[in-house]
Assembly symmetry: C2
């Protein structure tokens, strides 16, 4: 899957690319069937919504769940990002975000790279996200909202919000959001929200400003987020636990394109439990 | 403005009617210009969002603000409801709901008639709402969500939610919402959300199940809600204060259609302050 010049240009200008139904129903079913048993686990890597049992974020499933280990090596997820960043990649973060029916809470306006640089000392913006929908995303179940072109602002000053939801986040100021949305077109295109069937995929820039609302609908909105980083741009500090910000900078080797529908062998290093070292953190800066 | 037979049939089946841009830009401007000074008032009738200065609901502006006193007698607001209910109307409740940019909080799934019967002892469902948009309503600023046809269920058992937001509400159970949405078409039309420019109007049944999400966008979403009740169906208890549930059952006399752009005289009985009696409540049932 090689991106066209038009797609490169679009990504450069808007900060994202959207591919409806990039994965088949069968491929998605294989992934979705695995989620309930992962969400059931009483493990630290399952962050639940405030005052609720519903899972907000599951971390690092690619290290202990076979379907997601395969997704983490899927050429349709990895190749376009290699193409955009022009380099081999490692997995910086891997999440299955719930946004469950009636329970899914807000993600305030933020840039992901804000967290990566503030917390993890990731040197440059050469990292980005791939989101894959395990459920249909519609206007009712809290779709991702982007401010197109906002990645051009680079890293924006953020404040650490540890109160609003159960997961701490570097969030942006309302006045700034208002300005960015105005500049991007105001009510005429200043916010966009890619929606589509399960199996759709969004690639988006690490500096693209985004948010998502609560889910008051009866429709779950489970999505998987791969945060892929150019190997040369690996993080320089292990301030966050290793199940959140990974420390293995080995380049990802893709499996064949049919890996979600055929049998392939994958390593599951945390299959029998998360190692103690994954919970150890440090404020020390890595030497190169 | 007489409704067609098709519109009657649609309302009967779906529980609502939507008229995009029923009011002109000039008419809306006249109303919208009045809102900031009403919202500024430190009066009990301005409910603010939890932990915020933003107004969630302003009550009874038609009794102390000239533009809204005219809107409360506007034939485009009143006549279609007289037509649907086949009777003269009185104003049961009058609200200007904020749903302000970044601050507007959720309204959980509910039926308005649930409150009217539980709190006010309104005898039957012969009452309904008219909503008029003072701002554009889009997918980002917390539009009203309806479950089409759900009014056919009649009054549904509700629980009094006094915790979620700053305004107490009789809200419905999640399992029931899931069933109603499924029956109405699930992800294919089980929820609808009329959106459109400022000046658009929605008429909806008092038993139609509805909600609206938070507003995380930089776009205000101010709407006015008239709750109109057939005169013969007036409430039988003054459990709620009179600025919330009105006690004047006099039939509304419409002004001419151009009343928002020309000078007309209107009574403003609360212009110099809300009378003490409006805060007095009683659990006694009225005799007919």
């Amino acid at each position: 899957m090689k991106l066209t010049q038009n797609q490169h240009n679009y990504f450069d200008k808007e900060g994202y690319l959207f591919f409806p139904e990039l994965f088949s129903k069968e491929e998605i079913q294989y992934l979705a069937d695995e989620v309930p048993k992962l969400y059931e686990l009483r493990e630290e890597y399952n962050f639940r919504e405030k005052g609720s049992n519903a899972v907000r974020t599951n971390f690092a499933a690619h290290l202990y769940s076979k379907p997601f280990a395969k997704l983490a090596r899927h050429p349709r997820m990895i190749k376009p990002v290699e193409d955009l960043l022009g380099e081999r990649l490692y997995m910086h973060q891997f999440k299955i975000n719930g946004k469950m029916a009636f329970e899914g809470d807000v993600w305030q306006w933020h840039q992901d790279y804000g967290t990566w640089v503030n917390d993890d000392l990731m040197p440059t913006e050469r990292a980005m996200n791939v989101a894959i929908f395990l459920d249909e995303v519609n206007e009712f179940n809290g779709p991702l909202l982007f401010i197109p072109g906002s990645h051009k602002k680079g890293v924006i000053k953020a404040k650490h919000d540890t109160a609003t939801t159960s997961y701490p986040l570097w969030t942006l100021d309302n006045n700034l959001i208002t300005q960015l949305v105005k500049r991007a077109g105001g009510i005429n295109g200043g916010i966009v929200s890619p929606k589509g069937p399960a199996g759709s995929v969004i690639f988006f820039h690490g500096c693209l400003v985004h948010s998502s609302s609560i889910n008051i609908s009866p429709f779950n909105r489970i999505s998987v987020y791969l945060s892929l980083c150019a190997v040369s741009n690996h993080i320089r500090r292990f301030k966050r636990k290793a199940y959140i910000a990974h420390r293995d900078f080995t380049p990802i080797k893709c499996l064949p394109d049919d890996c979600l529908v055929k049998e392939y062998k994958v390593d599951l290093p945390w299959e029998n439990g998360v190692p103690t070292s994954a919970f150890e953190t440090s404020l020390e800066e890595l030497s190169d």
